[in-house]
C-alpha cells in the first residue's frame, strides 16, 4: 500500500471576507512522487498549499502529515516546517536580506545547525541552484529568474522531505524553466516529494507523476497526467487546455500518420522520437 505524506479530510477554509476557498476537500498525496495541482486562477491552489505547512489552518475537516493529524502547537508547527518547505510565488516577498548568501542561510540558522555544517550546505545548494556566483549580491540587483533560484535554494538548504512550489515557472524564461524543472527532478530522485501548482499544461503533463484538478475549492479530478488530460469534461470545467504534445499525438494518430501507442508520449522529445520510428 502506498504511503501518503500529506492528506486532507473534508477540508474547509473560508477567508475573513467570506470567500469560501476550500470546500470539503479530501486528497491524498503519495510520498516520493512529483505531484501537480492545476486549476484556473482562484481555484484554491495556493490556499490549499499553505495548509500543508500550517500557515493556513482548517475551518473544518483536518490535514494529516504522514498519517498523523497536524499538531498546531508551536512545537508541532516547528517540527512540521522543518520537513515541509514552501517556495512562494512572489519571490520579492520571500527574499528579505541584503545578500543572497545571508538569505539562503536563514532557514538553516533557524534549524540551529552548527556553522560549519551550514556553510557546507549553503555552498552545495547554491551551486545546485546555479547561484553560487551571485552569493554577495543584494536581491534588487538580480533578475527575476535569479531571484527565483535564490528563493528555491533558501528552501532546499533546510533539506525538507516535502518541497512545495507555488507556480515555480510562471514568468520564467524557457532556459530558466528547464533548469528549475530538472533541479526538481534531481531532488525527487534523491527522495523528496515535490508538489507544484502550475498553469503550464505542457510542463505538468511532461513532468508530473500525479495530478489534481481544482475548481472552486473542490477536487474535480485526480490521477496520472494521461488519465486526467484524457477527460475533456474536466478540462472544460476547469478552463484548462490540452497539452500540445498530447493534442498533436492524437491528431497524428487520427489522421493515420502514427500508430497508436501503448505508452502515449509525454514530452516533445518522445513524440519526435516516435515520428522517426513509429510511422505506419
Amino acid at each position: 500500500m502506498a504511503t501518503y505524506i500529506v492528506s486532507t479530510e473534508k477540508l474547509d477554509f473560508t477567508y475573513l471576507d467570506g470567500t469560501k476557498a476550500l470546500d470539503s476537500l479530501s486528497i491524498k498525496i503519495p510520498e516520493g512522487k512529483k505531484v501537480a495541482f492545476i486549476g484556473n486562477n482562484g481555484a484554491g491552489k495556493t490556499t490549499l498549499l499553505l495548509h500543508f505547512n500550517g500557515i493556513n489552518r482548517p475551518d473544518g475537516g483536518e490535514v494529516r502529515y504522514n498519517g498523523q493529524k497536524m499538531d498546531y502547537s508551536s512545537k508541532g508547527i516547528k517540527e512540521l516546517r522543518k520537513k515541509v518547505g514552501i517556495v512562494f510565488q512572489d519571490t520579492d516577498s520571500q527574499l528579505f536580506s541584503g545578500s543572497v548568501y545571508q538569505d539562503v542561510s536563514f532557514g538553516p540558522m533557524n534549524l540551529g545547525w552548527p556553522e560549519g555544517k551550514i556553510r557546507i550546505k549553503l555552498e552545495q545548494v547554491m551551486k545546485e541552484a546555479g547561484i553560487w556566483e551571485l552569493r554577495d549580491k543584494p536581491p534588487h540587483l538580480l533578475s527575476y529568474g535569479q531571484k527565483k533560484r535564490v528563493a528555491i535554494a533558501g528552501v532546499l538548504a533546510m533539506e525538507p522531505e516535502l518541497i512545495i512550489l507555488d507556480e515555480p515557472t510562471a514568468a520564467l524564461d524557457p532556459v530558466c524553466t528547464s533548469q528549475v524543472m530538472s533541479l526538481l527532478n534531481t531532488l525527487n530522485t534523491n527522495g523528496a516529494t515535490i508538489i507544484v501548482s502550475s498553469h503550464n499544461m505542457d510542463e505538468v503533463y511532461a513532468w508530473a507523476d500525479f495530478v489534481f484538478v481544482l475548481k472552486e475549492g473542490k477536487v474535480i479530478a485526480e490521477g496520472s497526467p494521461i488519465n486526467v488530460f484524457r477527460r475533456q469534461d474536466v478540462l472544460a470545467a476547469a478552463s484548462l487546455k490540452n497539452p500540445l504534445v498530447l493534442e498533436l499525438y492524437d491528431k497524428l494518430v487520427s489522421s493515420g500518420m502514427l500508430a497508436k501507442q501503448e505508452d502515449v508520449p509525454a514530452t516533445p522529445e518522445a513524440l519526435i522520437a516516435l515520428l522517426a520510428t513509429g510511422k505506419l
Binding site: K78, R81, F88, D136, P138, P139
Partner: protein
C-alpha cells in the same frame, strides 16, 4: 534604474574586510572634524577621492555627481557664513551698502566659510569612500562585531531590503500610470500621484503579510538569524590604510 549599489558591488575594494574600511573612514572623519588646517582637509579629499577612482575603480562621473549634492547645500550654507551685516564697512573686503547697513565679506568670515566648506567636504569624501566601497551587508556585519543589538541590525536589514521593493513597486505603478497618460497635465498628475501613493500603502501591507508567511515557513521565531560570508583580514590592505592614515595625521603637525 540607477542604484549606487551597482557600483558598490563592482568596486575593486569590495572584498576588503569591512572593519578595515570602517576604521579607516571613521578615523579620517575624526581627523577632519578635529583639525582646522585647510591643507589637511584638501589632502583628505585627495586621498579619499583618488582611492575611490583609482583603487576602487568607481567611475569619476558617479563620484562627481554624488559630490554635487552636498556641495550645493554647503555652498548655500557657506554663503550665509561668509556674508555678514554691520553698521560700518570696516574690515570688509567687499561691501554692499543697504540704507544704513553694510552687507559684506570680512577676512574672518571668509576664512570661517572656507574652513567649514572644506571640513564638510573632506568628511563627506571619507564617508563616500566607505559607502561606495562597502556593501550594506558588510556594514551590518561590522555593527554585529561592535555588539549593536540584534533588533537594530534586523531593522536596518529589513529597511534596506524594503527600500528597493518599495521603489520598484512605486516605479512599476508609475510606469503603468504614465503609459496610460496618467501624468499628461498637472491636474491628472496630482490625481495619479494620489492613487499611486494609496496603492503603494495597500501593496506594502500585502507584501509584508506575504513576507511574514514566507519567513514562518522557513522557521522564523522572532529573530532574523543569518550567516554572513567569511571576511578575511589582509596585511597589505591594512598596511595601506595605516600608512595613508599616518600620512594624513602627520600632515597636521607639518603644515
Amino acid at each position: 534604474m540607477l542604484y549606487i549599489d551597482q557600483f558598490v558591488y563592482k568596486n575593486k575594494m569590495c572584498h576588503f574586510h569591512p572593519l578595515e574600511k570602517v576604521i579607516f573612514a571613521f578615523v579620517t572623519i575624526l581627523l577632519s572634524v578635529t583639525t582646522d588646517k585647510m591643507a589637511v582637509h584638501l589632502a583628505i579629499m585627495a586621498v579619499m577621492l583618488s582611492l575611490l577612482v583609482f583603487k576602487a575603480g568607481t567611475p569619476v562621473t558617479v563620484v562627481g555627481k554624488l559630490l554635487l549634492a552636498p556641495t550645493g547645500f554647503l555652498l548655500a550654507g557657506g554663503l550665509s557664513l561668509a556674508v555678514t551685516v554691520n553698521v560700518s564697512a570696516a574690515g570688509m573686503l567687499v561691501a554692499l551698502t543697504i540704507g544704513n547697513f553694510y552687507l559684506g565679506v570680512t577676512a574672518t568670515s571668509l576664512a570661517l566659510a572656507t574652513g567649514v566648506l572644506l571640513r564638510s567636504l573632506s568628511a563627506v569624501s571619507a564617508l563616500y569612500f566607505l559607502v561606495l566601497t562597502t556593501p550594506m551587508t558588510d556594514l551590518l556585519h561590522v555593527l554585529q562585531l561592535l555588539r549593536v543589538p540584534a533588533m537594530v541590525i534586523e531593522l536596518v536589514m529589513l529597511i534596506y531590503r524594503f527600500i528597493f521593493v518599495f521603489i520598484e513597486t512605486a516605479f512599476s505603478i508609475y510606469a503603468a500610470q504614465s503609459a496610460r497618460l496618467g501624468f499628461i497635465d498637472f491636474r491628472r498628475s496630482i490625481t495619479s500621484f494620489g492613487v499611486l501613493f494609496a496603492n503603494l500603502w495597500g501593496k506594502a501591507f500585502f507584501k509584508s503579510q506575504a513576507m511574514y508567511n514566507s519567513l514562518l515557513s522557513r522557521g522564523y521565531e522572532g529573530e532574523l538569524k543569518v550567516l554572513s560570508p567569511e571576511y578575511k583580514f589582509s596585511l597589505p590592505n591594512t598596511l595601506l590604510f595605516v600608512l595613508l592614515e599616518l600620512g594624513l595625521v602627520s600632515l597636521v603637525f607639518v603644515v
